[in-house]
Subunit: 208 residues, 2 copies
DNA sequence: GTGTTTTCGTAACGGTGTTGTAATACGCTG
DNA sequence: CAGCGTATTACAACACCGTTACGAAAACAC
């Protein structure tokens, strides 16, 4: 009927791959559609016909990053010690973030900054912490965590601590004379220990 | 000697104030120097003679935000229960972040994104967690925390958990069926409890 | 060979931060 | 009081961005 399509799946992958490379080592802000199109020897129109907009391109990149992240966390196989599984998931979390800081930044970027089109759909990052919830649930059944709190709550606290310490490092807000790397695991273990006997045993009940 | 200066301290404050207002409710990305200059009825040159660049302006804004943040955390007066002081500092942390999300975002933004000029100097955010370290130190003396870890390490874990949970909320990565608001304090208390008896009492020593 | 239709590259639009340049407005001098 | 010197400012140009309108290109139908 008309001229043959060159904005096909192959070009889509090439664009995605090149964009991933740029974002990987220079960040999402350093990604220019003009430069990207020139690198892949096409025009900016290709990005718009294949991804809709720059936000759409970043959204596809986001999907890919989340997939890798979920794979990395799911690769932590359960052992007979669920509490230790939680720690190892936390370590894998940190490992991924340190290895791919810019992809990690895309994962946890502000909602407003990115994906203004499909902001209705929930972000899939939250799906990646399912293995953590499962580990906590197994730990509760094994008596390693108190049953006073839902496993989701305990998992969220671990998730928050991992994300917080990793974010401090990646954003350059690490205390100067104190390396997070050296106490990350100890902090996680302290938290796990704190959930053991149910919360609020020592300092609880005062406020709230 | 020449025409009178209008790019003086007064204009500097007006620019800073107007920029703060814009950043406060629309974020740093929505701040345009042209719009800012028009609002204050001057030219963009004023920003460059007073702040050097947009990054310089944001850096001044950063200083201001850090000052407010430090004030808010220092306003938590020590009581006879240091462990509870730690919790209350954590709650104040969250309160500030939720009340001023965009200022909080400036505080913990990527180093690369912002302040490319004065990136040599250490960031002052780390200074704001001094009250937390002090509270932990008092708690150790009172026997509420184990002495196996430096107070800086314990404080950093609390700092990380607060920052992590708050960041998850602000970036829109909160689990859908689970409000952080409802378990934030419980998580902090669990962590404090976990540091009580020295770390690693239950799940320790397995890895590492 | 002409028409039609789909597709794509180019160029333009409105916007940004930044910088070069020319006009301004005063103090000093004659 | 006129005019110069100069510090200081406003304006316009520059290079770049994401996005979009539009005309050219290409393959099929007749």
């Amino acid at each position: 009927m008309a001229r043959p399509k060159t904005h096909d799946e192959s070009l889509r992958l090439r664009l995605l791959h090149r964009a991933a490379a740029t974002v990987f080592d220079r960040g999402a802000a350093a990604l220019s559609l003009r430069q990207l199109a020139a690198d892949v020897k096409t025009s900016t129109t290709a990005v718009y016909s294949l991804f809709g907009s720059k936000a759409g391109l970043l959204s596809s990149l986001y999907q890919e990053a989340v997939r890798l992240f979920a794979e990395r966390l799911a690769a932590v196989r359960p052992t007979g010690d669920p509490a230790d599984d939680v720690i190892r998931i936390g370590l894998a979390y940190r490992e991924y973030a340190v290895a791919n800081p810019h992809l990690y930044a895309i994962l946890f970027a502000d909602r407003g900054v990115q994906c203004p089109s499909d902001s209705g759909r929930p972000r899939e990052v939250v799906e990646t912490y399912r293995p953590l919830v499962d580990a906590v649930r197994r730990g509760q059944r094994a008596g390693q965590f108190g049953t006073a709190s839902d496993p989701e709550v305990i998992a969220l606290s671990v998730w928050g601590m991992a994300h917080g310490l990793v974010s401090l490092v990646l954003s350059g807000n690490e205390p100067p004379e104190l390396a997070v790397a050296g106490c990350y695991e100890r902090a996680l273990r302290a938290l796990v220990t704190g959930w053991r006997g149910g919360e609020g045993s020592a300092a609880g009940r005062a406020a709230s």
